[in-house]
Symmetry: C2
Subunit: 717 residues, 2 copies
């Protein structure tokens, strides 16, 4: 009947892991840390509580129970300490006593409920980890114990997931991977292989459901997952765990080569979105602080290392993670790092720039990630969204950007309006302000037209459109850039955004250059919004600070913005701020006659203080077809503790629009030592096409998608 061997480990592998115990390798540190965590938890009395709120004690306790059973099962095998097996068995017995006495939770939202948790997603997690733990300790249990636990926990759960909630089991969705992996692994653990088949091929074995269908359909050809990295890293853990199970128990699938290595491809895509410090950009309704240290990403990096090979960037990520998966896959990575560090210091990862296409065939736009390293080794990362709407989690921010350097996000994503697992904050669920603010266009680094949200905040309309890539060019050491169109996101309006990083010798860090072109038939109001953090240091224009403040608008997120101050730059506007140790200076202009800059802060119409209080400045202008152009210079250093401040003013002095038309845009940037002319094609043309445009009697000619000319200016010394 029951398999009594561990699902994910052989005896030889266990012996290998045992050799790392007590060493200072990553695997040794991992084992040591897991033992400490488990020992702390085992000091508490065993508890299997009844129903509670999401994020409340009961919810957390069930989560801790499966987390620590999962660790204890493997630690029993690795350390040969019977106490860890006893812990798993005692807890399983307690669940066997109680599980069927719990009724299903009362349904509060659209998700089906479990007996332990308010949504079955969590019950899937419970089943997956507990089944793995069970497979590690079953050999030291009696037949009677095994029968009792299988019949009172595992079988009813399998029944619930594949019969009661059968309609959900085959749904293609990131949660679905948890469902199939849990069912498949549990089937193996209790010797009912039919559940493994069902998990791999779907309930009806017709490829419309099951793991293979999930991994074939969930990811774009680039490997990108449309809901963004935060949700991707959540799905990556069962994906990699179950792949490893199939590699061992269904070798005929050849899972790591399946569909042109979709597993490796999607892990690689996920990792390639991360900022240099390991945090994921909060694309699409996500936490701002999720990073590669997440356990799921640890599993993914370990699995990738074993089956697709290790390189310096993976080693750099493993160093940030400071852990590996406690499994033979993790051992491969741990040994590779040990070996590499004998030869050289492994630095921070410097992932290559990458454009990740979207949609089933990769034609629904893309997400662009450009990275450039400065002379001191710091990596600037520029992210632009010109892909598709992320389903229910989609933010309305096509052509939105974020920008990161010196260890911090500079042009920032607000992230979701949610306090995950904070029970007094609406049970840790999404808050009303998530819709009314965080997902609105104005909450992003984008242009909001006529104070309206893109696609009118209509999810089905947004799902039907996507960005159109123009170019993604990262070959040069001097300038990298990307450009895309979004022509269906506002009625009667086409938009093109072209963003660049330019390395100039005289500048400490790459200069962010941003050309946002809007082609309208009528006059519109354009709000070019910049979400920053820190302290305003200076501006080059007068503004009026309001004595009484009201909101910037009444809807589409504007109702949450306090209008603190505003002023009218006479020409190019300058706003400089200090974020932690670094100064940033923004210079912005447009092809229109007039503009106004608003300084805002979130927090209006927020009766439960659900929003964070965060500042932004918005460059507002009016026009028909318009080009908005700006730069952000990264400069100087401030250390309050040591009372040091250098280069607080920066070196870029101006940006002006020379001209723009349907063919090309030309802007000129002035710095202390140079004049930079940037010419950008505004038409979808071949890389080799020639452009010639004339503005103010001057003709600008260039080949390809864009060109930059840098002229040294005479120093006034």
């Amino acid at each position: 009947m029951t398999t009594t061997t561990p699902i994910l480990l052989t005896h030889a592998e266990i012996a290998d892991l045992r050799k790392e115990f007590g060493r200072t390798s990553l695997m040794g540190k991992t084992i040591d840390a897991h033992i400490n965590e488990l020992q702390d938890f085992m000091r508490l009395p065993i508890d299997v509580p009844g129903h509670g709120e999401a994020g409340g004690y009961e919810h957390n306790r069930h989560k801790q129970n499966y987390t620590f059973m999962n660790l204890a099962g493997r630690l029993f095998l690795i350390t040969e300490q019977q106490q860890y097996a006893d812990f798993v068995i005692a807890l399983l017995e307690e669940y066997a006593d109680k599980y069927l006495t719990f009724d299903f939770h009362v349904q509060k939202n659209t998700n089906p409920t479990g007996r332990l948790f308010h949504q079955i997603l969590n019950e899937h997690c419970w089943l997956l980890y507990t089944s793995l733990a069970y497979s590690c300790v079953a050999a030291v249990m009696s037949d009677a114990q095994r029968t009792r636990i299988e019949s009172r926990i595992f079988e009813p759960m399998l029944e619930m997931f594949t019969v009661k909630y059968a309609h959900d089991f085959d749904r293609i969705h990131n949660h679905g991977i948890w469902a199939v992996a849990a069912v498949g692994i549990c089937g193996l653990a209790i010797g009912k292989r039919e559940y493994l088949d069902m998990a791999v091929y779907g309930i009806d074995r017709n490829d419309s459901g099951g793991f293979l269908a999930q991994i074939s359909q969930l990811f774009a050809p680039s490997g990108y997952y449309m809901e963004g990295p935060y949700y991707h890293r959540y799905a990556i853990r069962p994906t990699c765990l179950f792949a490893e199970v199939l590699q061992r128990h269904m070798p005929e699938v050849d899972i790591y080569n399946y569909k042109s290595k979709v597993i490796g491809n999607t892990v690689n895509a996920l990792l390639s979105t991360a900022y240099p410090n390991g945090q994921f950009p909060a694309l699409n309704d996500a936490s701002r602080t999720m990073s590669i240290t997440d356990m799921g990403v640890q599993v993914a990096v370990s699995v990738y290392s074993k089956h697709y090979g290790v390189d310096d960037n993976l080693l750099g990520m493993a160093k940030i993670q400071n852990r590996v998966w406690m499994h033979p896959c993790g051992l491969v990575l741990s040994r590779a790092l040990e070996k590499a560090e004998e030869k050289a210091v492994i630095g921070m990862p410097f992932w290559p720039s990458v454009e990740l296409n979207e949609g089933p065939d990769g034609t629904h736009g893309a997400q662009g990630f450009i990275r450039m390293q400065d002379k001191k080794g710091d990596v600037s990362q520029l992210v632009m969204n010109y892909g598709q709407h992320g389903m229910g989690h989609g933010n309305f921010d096509t052509l939105g950007i974020s920008f990161f350097n010196r260890g911090q996000e500079v042009l920032r994503e607000y992230g979701f309006a949610r306090w995950v697992n904070v029970e007094p904050k609406f049970g840790g669920r999404y808050l009303d302000e998530n819709k009314s603010y965080a997902r609105q266009t104005i909450a992003h680094n984008a242009v909001t037209v006529d104070e309206k949200c893109q696609n009118d905040f209509n999810v089905s309309r947004a799902d039907s459109v996507h960005g159109l890539p123009h170019f993604f060019s990262v070959q040069s050491d001097v300038i990298s850039g990307m450009s895309a169109f979004a022509n269906q996101h506002y009625d009667g309006l086409s938009m093109q955004r072209s963003v660049f990083m330019l390395a100039l010798d005289e500048l400490e860090s790459p200069l962010l250059i941003d050309l946002y072109r809007l082609v309208g038939e009528d006059e519109h109001q354009y709000d070019y919004s910049h979400q920053y953090e820190g302290q305003i240091i200076r501006t080059n224009f007068d503004y009026q600070s309001h004595q009484e403040v009201s909101t910037l608008g009444t809807d589409n997120g504007y109702q949450h913005l306090w209008n603190l101050a505003s002023g009218k730059p006479t020409d190019t506007g300058l706003v400089s701020w200090l974020q932690n140790n670094t100064y940033y200076t923004w210079l912005g202009t447009s092809s229109n006659d007039s503009c106004e800059v608003y300084f805002t802060r979130t927090g209006a119409n927020d009766p439960s203080f659900n929003l964070r209080s965060e500042p932004a400045f918005i460059y507002r202008t009016h026009g028909k077809t318009s080009l908005l152009a700006s730069v952000v210079e990264t400069h100087g250093y401030f250390n309050e503790e040591f009372e040091q401040s250098v280069n607080a003013r920066g070196k870029v002095s101006n940006i002006k629009v020379i001209g723009h038309n349907e063919s090309a845009s030309v802007v000129e940037i002035t710095t202390a030592d140079s004049i930079v002319t940037l010419m950008v094609s505004n038409q979808v043309t071949a890389q080799t096409s020639e452009h010639s445009v004339t503005f103010n009697q001057k003709t600008y000619q260039f080949n390809g998608h864009y060109a930059v000319e840098i002229t040294a200016v005479k120093q006034e010394k």
Copy 2:
């Protein structure tokens, strides 16, 4: 003529330091770090610029020049690398060329100006460090070089400080220590011992000026410096440097035993103010981020270790500093740490609780610092100011408190409104908002009466009064507390604040208990203000968030507070917030009939964005003689990245005022498991006195200054 030996080092000592070069001891790490910093700086071309703005390039460059000459002088001796001597000599030659060609700066404030800097304070620093550097390299210079440098730099500077600015030289002030130390050290360096005498005994050798007068008069008997730790740590560096010079060159003074060891005493007082993470509380118009890692404090800890002995707390501080003074004094500390770490891990310092008296004879009130460690070893620190006004830097916050635990300040000091050395922010000087907001009573964790500042923001009135200590009691492991009166800070009003930390088994961290009693003849408005940071999680009362916001008031700091929301708790008010990883819950009440809680944020009437945007909540009530009572519970854990939240609600459910009169106050606190009755004496009486008060037909009797009774309550399970 010229002494050609180093002022602060003997040949034997240099040889000892040389032995640490390349080792992993603190001294080895210090030497290594200094070499790297110096090498970085030496790669730049030599530059002696002309006049510039405070915080601008020129100012910083002169500062860097003396900093690196000071390092290079010693590194030349320690490493025997001629390049370091050459660097000092080349830079001195450049100063000799230019110094006398610079005119005095144009005077912009009340401080006398120098030729290099906008105020002579900085020129004193320059002279002190450069003289030390010169003494290290003079032996390898020619007579002609020495003569030129002495006559073109050092002698004119001595002339300026002791003749042109003679009136300032003998002033008793923290800046004065820099003046006398610089002059004395320079005199030694160029072989004019008369300047050393002048520096030690004053220009007129009559004890009204000079170093001995300074250190005799600047500090209270407790060692506290009235301007607070931020200014104290600035004065401590020349104090310790010059003490060490006198120990070596004027042994007859016996400086380390002078005036009952005033040097050791004041170093000890400074260190004992620091929070457990090494940061100094921002008492009196100070930076929030100044800490013991400041170079001056490094020198002080090293000097103290050599001359007064090392203990575990000093070792813990040295570990936070991760450096020592590159001097034989630092070597003592480095060796002590090395030896101690062979036996055991040195943890964070846990400084004893201490009451630091103020005033020349210690009778002008005090500053109280109470610390308590929780079961996990975390230290909570409670600070109350019941001393004197800190001269020009005085904040109007007598009876103000701050509270720190888990690595963060919870009830916070705003600190000064100043961006030190940030040139575009008013040259890095104090901003207007420092007076209009940061020094006002409402900016502090205190009670503001009738929306007025204490002492009407009148410095001379404030200088004439001080707090009156009532008790400072830290013997018990269960409860520690302090109490004081401030009876002259508002007309017709006496105030008493009694603050405690209570350790209850059921609570994770000590509970802060706060009884603020006001004795007024007339009806007043009391604003009991709490400066917190983070996100409001919940309240137990309804409040109205305003659709349009205006300021809470018109003057005394209120004009800078946006009135975001307010509501009326029906009984005890509860406000709970999340600061980084920890939840805090405040429960507050009063003996008055009604109250209102206001949620505010700084930023109004701040036309240059000089203030940080920070939240507060204010419990407002009206009454004559009133007792305001509150607790702050520290509880739970939140980690956004790992999506963990535990104990978000806390265990304290209520606080109520049982009664208060001229004899005593009684409050009752209810927690999940206990009822705590706290009785506090309201009269200045002996520790042994007996109290008996009757409220609501119940008589409360206790001996001494206060008593606590803890009764277990039945669990409802």
